[in-house]
């Protein structure tokens, strides 16, 4: 199964629905099992799992909906997460560990620790975030 031809064929796209806590985590779980099948290293899979889970939850919790795309290019896993608004007012605050704008209701479920974006950045070899009132876009690369 450890075949680079298989890896480079991977091109995935998922739409994420706002507020859908029941299905939350399915996209990242699906991505994990596909990467496992093509023989990606476990340490790399863990990073991808954390990045895609946090990105997925951010879209579910904070946005009006969006999508996650993942592809393998050479020795890089490239992840694009895009959502439709309302955007992040202050990106540097959002990048600070412990800062969160999540509601009390969501926090009671254990979300909104203010660790999502910091976790994503920590697991990424390349990380870029852009946000406006139109929406937020993340570009992440993880090398293996």
């Amino acid at each position: 199964m450890n075949n680079s031809k298989d890896k480079n064929k991977i091109k995935l796209e998922y739409s994420i629905i706002s507020n859908d806590f029941k299905r939350a985590g399915e996209t990242s779980s699906n991505i994990k099992s596909i990467l496992k099948k093509v023989g990606i290293d476990n340490k790399v899979i863990r990073k991808v799992a954390i990045v895609t889970y946090e990105a997925e939850m951010n879209i579910v919790i904070h946005s009006y909906g969006g999508n996650i795309k993942l592809m393998v290019e050479g020795n890089n896993i490239i992840i694009n997460a895009y959502d439709k608004g309302p955007g992040i007012e202050d990106i540097s605050l959002a990048m600070k560990e412990g800062y969160s704008t999540a509601t009390d209701e969501v926090r009671e479920l254990g979300f909104g620790a203010g660790m999502g974006l910091p976790n994503i950045k920590k697991c990424s070899d390349y990380f870029k975030i852009e946000s406006s009132t139109e929406g937020t876009r993340l570009l992440i690369k993880i090398s293996f």
Binding site: I50, G110, M115
Partner: protein
């Protein structure tokens, strides 16, 4: 390494779901209720102690290869959480004890 089934027996824990994963092995424990912190810090094959009971805990456990979820303080586990745990074969077990109390027992059992 110790099997989840053996830990359940030794510490008289209640198995709620995820029987398929009873042969999972563990040699460590992680405790936490803030999901992003758990994601970042818990390690594969650990038992995860938490008071969270909603369906997302199973997704997290599966993503980072947790061996079993141990619900503390006798919290009620939601039906869709149970279904997901059965589907993925990740055991959910429960105790009425606090995190601290059950941690000591796990430690005495040799899980450290």
């Amino acid at each position: 390494m110790m099997k989840i089934s053996q830990i359940i027996k030794e510490l008289d824990l209640e198995l709620i779901s995820g029987e398929k994963g009873l042969d999972n092995e563990t040699n460590g424990v992680y405790s936490g209720d803030l999901l992003s912190v758990v994601m970042a810090s818990a390690k594969e094959k650990q038992i995860w102690l938490t008071v969270q009971t909603h369906i997302n805990i199973v997704a997290i456990a599966s993503l980072i290869d947790i061996s079993a979820i141990l619900i503390v303080e006798g919290m009620e586990v939601e039906e869709d959480t149970i279904e997901k745990s059965n589907e993925l074969g990740i055991p959910i077990i429960r105790t009425n004890k606090t995190t601290y109390e059950i941690s000591i027992e796990l430690y005495k059992l040799g899980i450290n």
